[in-house]
């Protein structure tokens, strides 16, 4: 890794680039899935390669290759320079970059039990037991148990002399029951919908999930949903469990505060943001109890690192304070356009891709309530849990989310299970109606499938979230 990275830096400097950085990485992952007691997937994957980014004549060029030889790297640098020159040929304004300092650092995920050292037989046994427990209910037609782990070793060097080695280990697991009575199909997942939940950790995180213990409840709820009443429609009080609130944060805040979106750079694909730069430090995003933070230093977060993929130190950035919009996620080439410095949020998926502005770990800070207090102080409302569907417009304003399960709350108690719930609103109106946030069930929710950019990159991000209450929300049934 070291030799080829240094070679790339030297070659690029010889060719007169203004700036360059190189990432050399090795990636391994293991995936296991059992469906209805049968093996659906058992995969070990490894890849390695180099991503080279150069700045020439005011334009960026990026080339990646799986080949590690000097001849290939030299060819890639020449191609990257050609791309950079072509970029510079269609520009309206000069590219300004926020400052970067030389950094020499190392980072490794803290882990007690290396997941790649755990015997495969032990992993299989856990998933088989959880799968069998889901299938105790005969109406469960599809029972899934899943496990995932990856490790990326990444060396970053740049032309200002930085040398940053980071070794990240991510693990995750989950179960899912799909119940059917021939007329209806209902799904329940644990810990969450997207293949479970994920953390930067060792195997101890998977052991602590209690997949086997939770399977009976998950299966029962999927079956009970078949007979449950439809969620009543209307404007009501909504209580969201963290499993769903994490996605709400992701879609209506996390993406909305990406500065490249706000500046129009994503308008050709995923869209822009209602949080335009003139909103910064002025716009009331939510109620005064809403505090949202992007924190790339959160222990265990799947968006945690020491330095981002352009060599800027990880940061804790307030996004919303006392309900007011105060910060963006940004990189070196976007931050100067609002007279700021990079927030250290440039991330690339693997060596293959160019770094772009991404979420790190975006949290809703814990509030003053317990979950019991939120429910017991709600006279009438709907409590929803688990991600089922999601849709939001291209400026992250109007949204509609469906959940796996709901309960009607009456006089401070859960009184009946409801199916097919969804809620719809717009981002500032929704967050301004937030009047209670719990602290006792705050946890990290790992999202493995955050998509953005062209070429499309799917990255892991985390959200800290707890149960919270929102007043006057339009609720529907699908």
């Amino acid at each position: 890794m070291e030799h080829i990275a240094k070679f790339a830096i030297q070659e690029a400097e010889n060719l007169g680039v203004e700036y360059m950085d190189v990432r050399v990485s090795q990636f391994i992952k293991e995936e296991i899935e059992i469906h209805n007691g049968e093996l659906e997937k058992l995969l070990y994957h490894e890849d390695q390669g180099i991503g080279i980014r150069v700045l020439v004549e005011g334009g960026w060029g990026f080339v990646s290759t799986p080949k590690h030889c000097e001849q290939e790297v030299r060819k890639c640098i020449v191609q990257a320079i050609e791309l950079a020159k072509a970029s510079g040929s269609v520009r309206q304004e000069n590219l300004a970059l926020s400052p970067i300092e030389k950094a020499v650092a190392e980072y490794r995920t803290s882990l007690k039990r290396d997941p790649f050292d755990v015997p495969l037989a032990e992993k299989m046994e856990l998933l088989e037991q959880a799968n069998a427990a889901l299938r105790v209910q005969p109406e469960v037609t599809v029972a899934k148990s899943m496990m995932y782990m990856h490790r990326e070793e990444k060396l970053f060097l740049n032309s200002v002399g930085s040398h940053i080695y980071q070794e990240t280990t991510v693990v995750g697991a989950g179960i899912q029951a799909i119940a059917s009575d021939g007329k209806d199909v209902q799904v329940r997942s644990y810990p969450n919908t997207f293949q479970g939940n994920f953390q930067q950790s060792g195997y101890e995180y998977i052991e602590g999930l209690g997949l086997v213990d939770e399977a009976e409840r998950v299966a029962q709820e999927a079956v009970q949903l078949l007979q449950a009443d439809d969620c009543p429609e209307g404007v009501q009080t909504l209580i969201l469990h963290g499993s769903q609130l994490a996605l709400q944060i992701h879609e209506s805040c996390g993406h909305a505060v990406e500065l490249d979106r706000a500046l129009g750079e994503e308008s050709g694909f995923v869209g822009e943001s209602f949080l335009t730069s003139d909103c910064l430090d002025h716009f009331q995003y939510g109620s005064e109890i809403v505090h949202l933070t992007a924190d790339a230093t959160t222990e265990g977060g799947v968006g945690t690192y020491l330095y981002d993929d352009e060599g800027i130190a990880a940061q804790r950035t307030p996004l919303v304070e006392d309900g007011k919009f105060v910060g963006y996620l940004s990189g070196r080439d976007t931050a100067p356009r609002i007279h700021k410095e990079s927030s250290g949020a440039m991330r690339a998926v693997g060596w293959q891709n160019v770094p772009i502005v991404r979420m790190t770990n975006v949290h809703l800070e814990p509030g003053d309530f317990t979950v019991d207090e939120i429910i017991s102080t709600t006279e009438s409302g709907i409590y929803m849990e688990g991600i089922k569907s999601w849709s939001i417009d291209d400026i992250r304003y109007n949204f509609q989310f469906g959940c796996e399960i709901a309960w009607e709350i009456r006089d401070g108690k859960r009184i009946r299970m409801l199916k097919n719930p969804f809620y719809t609103s717009n981002s500032p109106e929704f967050w301004s109606q937030c009047d209670a946030i719990a602290h006792d069930d705050w946890q990290l929710w790992g999202v493995p499938n955050c998509g953005k950019g062209e070429p499309f990159q799917t990255i892991f991000v985390s959200h800290g979230a707890s149960t919270a209450r929102f007043r006057q929300v339009q609720i529907g049934v699908s």
């Binding site: 093996l39 997937k41 070990y44 520009r91 999601w390």
Partner: protein, 456 residues
């Protein structure tokens, strides 16, 4: 040059041969799957190029069967040491796997249809040529005091499949795509084009349409939620059709009884004006001769005059349900929640021009495309999403006003039963990074449900 004589073909097949030969001594059955991907993309926004990338990678996937147990390993280095280690890794994993009750082996060789999915000139497109296309789009937008965003991209995909039952195939395909989002003070317009060859892209037409839509979109009014007749332009139809493809033609949910078409095969399920097929061999698309089992792709009638007529299969699912593969095996590293689905959907064109549809409409909405569509109920194909890129109100046969984007929540199975007219041209669409396509015409529907509006 014959495709098998290409340098990449030789390297890929050589790697395949090494893997199969190595594995035959270590496993009962072995297969390997090789994907090469070169993607060059010039991205622009705010009337300037903001990103210019060329990425390439290749992945070798090895799958073994050992005493009824399956193991899979993959790598992206083709030296013999790495390939040997990958085969061994797959074998070691298989030893720990539970015995699969139905797995017997890999499919045997069949005759592959000869298609030309590769445009050699497109492989050689330069950064300067791509930048010049962007420059043309930007200059026309600037001339109209508008700002342009989008991408010009070229993809070259190499695919090889080999197994110990005699399959040994290689193919190379190209895709070129341009899309433009042109933005004004409040309005925006979208257009795109996808071709096999970069040199066939109609970039001037793309920017012309996007500018026209943008200019027409200024000063949009808000429409109340409710049911409206709609005209779906080709892109909008293609987006809904792609969801129909994924949800209705999933053979697993179909046979489990959880699918939209379960117990409805042979019955009329959509408007009799609609005929839909899986058409991977069509010359006007991005033709593809074989799937990830190495089996031949073929045209499959899925809906004929509104009647459900066919389902798609790969080898394993087909054998499980007593059906023959239709050549729809998915990439082995695809997430397991992505079941097999049609890769080249084609809804047949009708006879009505867009202008005639508009002229016929007393009151309704013209939709350019949708954004961020989500599935609310998979069996009923109940979807929600927003309109984007140009939404217009029609009254008495004329476009009278742009409309702020609307949220729809609608059962597509119901919507596609309300067809008033089918457009006279099916246009090819694809999605970023994917070689799958959907070819779809405009559709005029008598009713479509909107339950909310955006702020813009």
């Amino acid at each position: 040059m014959k495709i098998q004589e290409h340098t990449v073909a030789k390297a890929f097949l050589q790697a395949c041969d090494f893997v199969i030969n190595t594995g035959q001594g270590l496993a009962d059955h072995i297969a390997c799957f090789l994907l090469g991907d070169q993607h060059t993309l010039t991205r622009y926004a705010n009337n300037q190029i903001i990103q210019n990338v060329r990425k390439q990678d290749h992945t070798m996937i090895v799958k073994v069967i050992l005493s009824g147990r399956i193991g899979m390993a993959s790598c992206n280095q083709f030296d013999e040491q790495t390939l040997y280690r990958t085969v061994k890794q797959a074998v070691e994993l298989a030893k720990f796997a539970p015995i699969h009750p139905t797995v017997a082996g890999f499919p045997e060789q069949e005759i592959i249809p000869q298609v030309n999915g590769c445009d050699e000139a497109t492989e050689q497109v330069t950064a300067t040529e791509m930048a010049k296309m962007v420059e043309m789009i930007v200059s026309k937008s600037v001339a109209n005091h508008l700002r342009a965003a989008g991408a010009v991209q070229v993809q070259v995909m190499d695919q090889a499949v080999a197994n110990s039952s005699g399959v040994r195939v290689y193919g190379r395909r190209t895709k070129a795509e341009v899309h433009a989002v042109v933005l004004g003070k409040t309005g925006s317009g979208y257009a795109s084009d996808t071709k096999r060859s970069f040199y066939d892209l109609q970039a001037e037409e793309v920017v012309r349409v996007a500018i026209e839509k943008c200019q027409l979109s200024e000063g949009a009014i808000e429409l109340p939620a409710g049911d409206y007749p709609v005209i779906l332009e080709q892109k909008a139809t293609a987006e809904l059709l792609s969801y129909l493809g994924v949800l209705a033609f999933n053979p697993v949910t179909y046979h489990q009884g959880n699918g939209f078409l379960s117990n409805r095969m042979g019955y009329r399920v959509l408007s009799e004006q609609l005929s839909i097929s899986e058409d991977p061999l069509g010359k006007e698309g991005l033709p593809d001769g074989f799937d990830w089992d190495g089996l031949p792709k073929q045209k499959v009638s899925l809906i004929q005059d509104g009647v459900a007529t066919g389902m798609i299969y790969d080898d394993a699912i087909g054998k499980k349900y007593g059906c023959k593969s239709t050549g729809n095996a998915k990439y082995p590293l695809s997430p397991s929640f992505m079941e097999i689905c049609p890769s080249h959907l084609h809804m047949e064109a009708g006879k009505t021009s867009r202008a005639d549809m508009i002229a016929q409409m007393e009151r309704g909405i013209l939709i350019t495309r949708f954004h961020y569509v989500g599935v609310l109920h998979s069996k009923e194909i109940l979807l929600t999403g927003m309109t984007r890129g140009g939404t217009f109100y029609i009254e008495n046969g004329k476009i009278v006003s742009p409309v702020k984007n609307l949220r729809f929540t609608e059962k597509i199975s119901s919507a596609f039963n309300q067809v008033v007219a089918v457009g006279d041209e099916s246009k090819l669409h694809s999605w970023p990074g994917s070689m799958s396509t959907v070819k779809a015409p405009d559709l005029m529907l008598s009713t479509f449900h909107f339950n909310g509006a955006a702020s813009h």
